[in-house]
Symmetry: C2
Subunit: 242 residues, 2 copies
């Protein structure tokens, strides 16, 4: 199966959670919007799919994945589908539901991270909602990041199979996503994370462990890994990391 | 199977999506935090579960569901689990993923509805974030509600099995959730919805159809259905519906 990922071509964003799973599995995939328009790909291909009246089950927004005839939207839903196929989810139903539940909690965190710089409207520039952003970011760094990190650290500590992985005794897409969350928060809120991470040694170790996996390390060193930047979900504005 | 639902006892909130599915199916369930403390239930029972260090797979926040030994968090994840068991999800994997995807998009809408009155911090009162709320709500009513309603109307219009249900030719939990979304938006933003709903006849009809289902109608008329109020996710503040 050759998968087709449709996501904005210039940011990691929510698409990165899918990319990491596909990369770790060594899956064959096209990152459609990043491929040349002359080959029928690029942004026009993404917009064609997004705006088509023909799609019976249309996605609401990127990322979405094409797998054969299936078109799937919603990051956590895509990973629910991919997990077993890529060997990145537990075999049993309870385990799969648990990994999915962790992913949904990370999705909530991602939305809150986005809203630190866009607390009023996604359609406005950051500079046009900066006073609101300052207040929202203060709550995010002071209350919400500690709550989320404390939760995931405690999940690792409670894992009866040890704290090498967030669920069970094997890598799942939730580990890859947790790596991305830590990386993103460190990029966007370096001061906050420098203060917080010493209190979360298991999360720190998990981030390191994932980064060193051969396929992930190769991906991170490649041009396929877009850098963090000020268009993505995790953005660094010094004043929001006070 | 007698399910135990754990959710805040005084609001519909995210728990209502689970309640509607359990009610439609005529499932046996305890709404734990709304039952008497003298029977070991009530808020203390909810907090005990939420704060326990013993839970191997702890939920991040209510709602969560206890089903035998299983404890499940995240509204959309709970419905993913319950759907097939309550006869409220398609039989095939593609159908189930589609219904789940719709639920995840509704979850995004619910978060945005919440953030109209709490754009800065959930821990602050509305009155302490009112200027921010006014700006965020203007975007929500002017841009986001139309986008979400347009999406779901178009999904109904495209359903090859007709527009009686949001997916396929049978009721799913996504129909119940869509009913709740329309009801909640109408409560919170009556002026906006009065303007918008005539342009979305399929959604309007679906809302009516669900409300008239015998078990849902009985539930809505019962004391088990909490009224909308100013503590829940859908809140009516006249100034936010301008």
């Amino acid at each position: 199966m050759r998968y087709e990922l449709y996501y904005w071509p210039t940011i990691q964003g929510r698409g990165e959670f899918i990319r990491l799973a596909l990369e770790e599995a060594g899956a064959e995939y096209l990152d459609v919007a990043r491929l040349p328009e002359r080959d029928g790909m690029g942004m026009p291909a993404l917009l064609r799919m997004l705006e088509s009246d023909e799609t019976i089950r249309p996605p609401f927004a990127p990322p979405f994945l094409k797998a054969g005839d299936l078109i799937l939207g919603q990051t956590a839903g895509i990973l629910l589908f991919l997990g077993p196929r890529l060997g990145l989810a537990p075999e049993d139903e309870a385990g799969r539901l648990w990994v999915h539940q962790l992913q949904l909690t990370m999705a909530d965190l991602v939305t809150e991270a986005h809203d630190t710089h866009h607390p009023v409207a996604s359609g406005l520039y950051y500079k046009d909602q900066k006073p609101e952003a300052l207040r929202r970011a203060a709550d995010f760094t002071g209350t919400r990041i500690p709550k989320f990190l404390g939760y995931f650290e405690s999940v690792l500590a409670r894992n009866p199979r040890g704290d090498d992985y967030i669920a069970g005794d094997a890598l799942s897409y939730a580990d890859l996503s947790l790596f991305q969350i830590i990386a993103g928060l460190r990029y966007a809120f370096p001061r906050t994370m420098k203060n917080l991470m010493p209190g979360h040694p298991r999360l720190d170790a998990l981030h390191e462990r994932v980064a060193k996996r051969p396929r992930i390390a190769a991906y991170l060193a490649s041009e396929r890994r877009l850098p963090f930047n000020k268009d993505g979900i995790f953005r660094h504005y010094k004043e929001l990391d006070a």
